[in-house]
């Protein structure tokens, strides 16, 4: 039984990294949002499994929060925003998708090496979890860096947060308060960024953040 428990946790966390990669590959906003919803659902499954094997009921709450907000509510709202803004076209990426994917693979390797070297004493499950979580975080950051569109930057930020929650779920004994505050901070960030999006759109008829740059003082 010990083996299958570990394998399923491993599978779910690994799937999260895989979905991250899929997410990075998307070049259309609508499909990106769909993959992001899958990302959140996989996260919810992974956290739920952790809750089951650790016997920690508060983690179920985390899983439900992740599923409700990030798996359903936020993608739906973002989808509506994208449709209303009429920007469900191609995403302008910086650099080719292929290079970005290679960079993501390198980041996964890096996070594996770092976590395995740093945490020799921890349990195998926690180490695997942390390594995958770090990989998801780094890929989320990579996504924010390589996309020009504000919506895809929001998605990158959210998947980064997903990585944080995965790490938090892996580390035993994280109090519920912290998780709720993380969930709410994401919600607030989402609201702020949503409003921010509409304001940008109102002003500049575009959600490409580079249009903002013209309005900054000083040099480019």
């Amino acid at each position: 039984m010990r083996g299958i428990v570990f394998d399923i946790a491993h599978l779910l966390a690994g799937s999260l990294v895989l979905v991250s990669l899929i997410q990075l590959y998307q070049d259309r906003l609508t499909s990106l949002l769909r993959v992001f919803a899958i990302h959140a659902i996989v996260l919810a499954l992974s956290v739920g499994w952790q809750a089951y094997i650790q016997g920690a009921p508060h983690l179920f709450a985390t899983a439900l929060l992740a599923l409700g907000f990030k798996g359903i509510a936020i993608p739906l709202v973002l989808h509506r925003i994208v449709l209303r803004l009429g920007i469900h076209r191609e995403i302008e990426t910086v650099g080719g998708i292929g290079i970005t994917m290679l960079a993501a693979v390198a980041l996964i390797a890096l996070s594996m090496v770092v976590i395995f070297k740093v945490t020799p004493g921890a349990s195998t499950l926690a180490r695997e979890d942390l390594a995958f979580a770090l990989a998801v975080i780094l890929i989320g950051l990579l996504m924010m860096v390589t996309r020009r569109n504000a919506v895809s930057q929001v998605v990158g930020f959210m998947s980064l947060e997903n990585g944080l929650i995965l790490a938090a779920a892996g580390a035993k004994g994280m109090p519920l308060v912290v998780e709720i505050s993380v969930a709410f901070s994401i919600l607030i960030a989402f609201i702020v960024i949503g409003i921010f999006l509409f304001r940008i759109r109102e002003r500049f008829d575009s959600v490409d953040v580079s249009t903002l740059d013209r309005f900054r003082g000083g040099r480019q």
Binding site: L110, S111, K117, M144, V145, V209, G218, R219
Partner: protein
């Protein structure tokens, strides 16, 4: 009495005074009332310190706030008490002075709150017993005095002085921070008791010593860290200048003594030599720069640099003697240093009070605009003269005693075994003697050009005597100078507990000697009696006056063709401040200051006036400070584009840094 009450009383009173100071300034005499209250608080703080010193106990307290695990530790031992007396005595005088002087302040609410906080900060530094409290109070003292320096910020000169002060103060605190970090070690034992118990390796101790020397030296004004001092001290209002010059530098000296003598344990052999040589150079350059100044307050500020040099020579001697196991000699040197610090706080306050009175009466500090003030401001002139005589270390005043003690300690150097010191100490003695002579010239210039001769401007003719509170403060300071000069034994005995704490043993008890004689070691080596000297001076001077009046004054005098060198009554025919300094500028200035005189004569037949211009360069500023500030500016210019990036670039920078650090971690672990 518990030291927590001492600290709590000072902190509570000064914070309360600072809080009520702004509404008080709405009333006509509000600032006078506040300064009077500040004088009372300082007086009580001094009495409390004196009580602690006389009972000979060290008071300790740990307050439940401050650094976690350490708390806020306070201690009032003999060393703290002596310096607390120095600080609060000068604070009383400055506050009494300001009762009168503060009324002329155009913007009292920019001065009053910070004045109270400044006094509080200095008091707290002296009783801090852990590194955190010490640094906190130190920074508090720096920042509040910075606010006082820029209190007249309308003038660009003052703002520049404030900026330079802020930079140097931050630099000094940074050095102290690292110094205490080394002292505390990786275990983080910041309490002074724990630091004393730790055994540092000689290398770590030396690094900590150097850092603390830089940190406290920059506050005290050791060359080459003195550049901020003259402009900042000149920019502040005069009672604050008196405190900064007379007292804040002493707090820095206290910080150095606390670390070098108390916390660090036994000194390494070269520490004393380094401090000694730095002190000698500081004394010489301070005196030389002071002589070149035409601004009265800048002249006084540079003279503070000189006096700090003398104090540090004493401390260096004490370290050197202590490292060689000569505790009796070390006690003499340490006594000389503390005594000189005490004396300097008195006469420098007195002189700054005088300069403030002159500035208020004439509206200028430029010696070239003054002259003949002794007729308009006789009481100020007498007080200033007493201060000048004291600071020029002439007997029978107090400056002579402490400098004599320093030289006595220097004369003991042949008994040292270390050959380097055998050469370094007499050389420093020569520097000290030279700077003492130059200091004499400085104050002949300050008093002679400022108060004697004929008035050089309309403002000097219109000058009037200052108010009675200012005069009372100056009179009290002058009397204390005389008192410390004629009965030095009482003061030396008073400092003995602090000296015992520094060097292990105090100087021999002086109170057993008749007629207030001062004998540092034994009678054959040398003794000094200020009282007898004063009587001798009084009798001979009186005798000379009688002789002159009896036999010379009544003799027939004829109106001379040359009129004692003053056939022309225009004030331009007198010595100016710059021309008085010219011979010494020629001798030393050509090498040390790169001074050059330019005289342009009109061609024959033209009636244009000839012009004379002096050019001087500060080599320390050019060779040390300009390259540093230049490279900082260059780096800032290069880093400036980083400030104007797109959101994505910023993210990329953060991302890149994160990946880089993770890679480093992956490779190194």
């Amino acid at each position: 009495m518990n030291v927590a009450y001492h600290a709590g009383f000072i902190a509570g009173s000064f914070i309360l005074l600072a809080a009520i100071s702004v509404p008080l300034t709405r009333f006509r005499n509000g600032s006078s009332v506040l300064y009077a209250l500040a004088a009372v608080v300082s007086g009580l703080a001094m009495l409390s310190s004196m009580a602690a010193l006389s009972r000979g106990v060290s008071l300790q307290a740990v307050l439940p706030f401050g650094l976690p695990g350490t708390g806020m530790r306070l201690e009032l031992d003999a060393l703290s008490a002596v310096f607390s007396i120095i600080v609060n005595l000068a604070a009383i005088l400055a506050s009494i002075y300001a009762v009168g002087y503060g009324r002329f302040d155009p913007a009292p609410r920019r001065v009053l709150p910070f004045y109270c906080l400044f006094l509080l900060g200095m008091n707290l530094v002296l009783i801090a017993d852990d590194a955190f409290t010490f640094l906190l109070s130190w920074e508090f003292m720096s920042l509040s005095s910075w606010a006082l320096v820029v209190s007249r910020h309308e003038e660009k000169e003052n703002r520049d002085a404030g900026f330079l002060y802020l930079v140097m103060a931050s630099f000094g605190t940074l050095a102290l921070l690292f110094g205490f970090g080394i002292l505390a070690g990786e275990s983080g034992s910041y309490a002074f008791d724990l630091i004393r118990e730790r055994q540092l390796t000689p290398f770590a101790a030396s690094i900590a010593f150097l850092l603390v020397l830089i940190g406290t030296g920059s506050k005290a004004g050791l060359v080459p860290l003195h550049v901020w001092l003259p402009p900042a001290h000149a920019a502040a209002p005069s009672h604050v200048s008196a405190l900064m010059s007379g007292v804040m530098t002493k707090v820095a000296v206290y910080g150095f003594i606390r670390v070098a003598f108390d916390l660090l344990g036994s000194p390494a052999w070269w520490w004393g030599t380094l401090v000694l040589v730095l002190g000698g150079v500081t004394a010489l350059l301070g005196a030389l720069f002071a002589l070149m100044q035409d601004d009265l307050k800048k002249l006084l500020a540079y003279s503070s640099v000189e006096n700090i040099g003398i104090v540090f020579v004493g401390l260096g001697l004490a370290l050197a003697f202590e490292a060689n196991g000569m505790n009796a000699a070390a006690a003499i040197a340490a006594t000389a240093a503390i005594f000189h610090a005490f004396n300097h706080s008195l006469f420098k306050s007195l002189l700054f009070f005088g300069a403030g009175a002159v500035q208020h009466a004439t509206g200028t500090r430029d010696l070239g605009q003054l002259g003949a003030l002794i007729q308009k401001m006789p009481a100020t002139a007498v007080a200033f003269l007493i201060g000048s005589v004291a600071i020029s270390s002439l007997p029978p005043l107090n400056g002579f005693v402490s400098e004599w003690l320093t030289l006595q300690a220097i004369l003991l150097s042949p008994e040292l075994k270390d050959w380097g010191l055998k050469f370094a100490i007499p050389a420093t003695g020569a520097l000290l003697a030279l700077s003492a002579a130059l200091a004499g010239a400085v104050f002949v210039k300050a008093f002679g050009v400022g108060f004697l001769g004929r008035a050089r401007s309309h403002a000097a003719i219109e000058a009037h005597e200052t108010d009675r509170f200012s005069l009372a403060a100056m009179g009290a300071a002058a009397m204390l100078c005389v008192l410390a000069g004629i009965v030095p034994g009482l003061f030396v005995d008073g400092f003995a507990p602090a000296v015992a704490l520094m060097t292990g043993a105090p100087m021999p008890d002086q109170s057993r000697l008749p007629w207030f004689t001062l004998v540092p070691m034994d009678v054959n080596r040398g003794s000094y009696n200020g009282l007898l000297l004063l009587l001798f001076i009084l009798f001979t001077a009186y005798g000379a006056v009688i002789v002159i009046h009896q036999f010379v004054s009544n003799a027939i005098r004829r109106a001379p063709p040359w009129d004692c060198g003053y056939p022309d009554s225009r004030p331009q025919t007198q010595y100016t401040a710059s021309s008085f300094a010219q011979p010494i500028r020629r001798v030393y200035g050509t090498l040390l200051l790169r001074a050059r005189d330019f005289v342009t004569m009109p061609p024959p037949g033209h009636v244009r006036a000839a012009t004379f211009r002096v050019e001087m360069r500060d080599l320390i500023w050019e060779k040390l400070y300009l390259p540093v500030s230049g490279s900082v500016l260059y780096a800032a210019e290069k880093l400036h584009p980083l400030q104007f990036q797109t959101i994505r670039r910023y993210l990329s920078l953060v991302f890149g840094l994160l990946v880089f650090l993770l890679t480093v971690l992956a490779i190194w672990l």
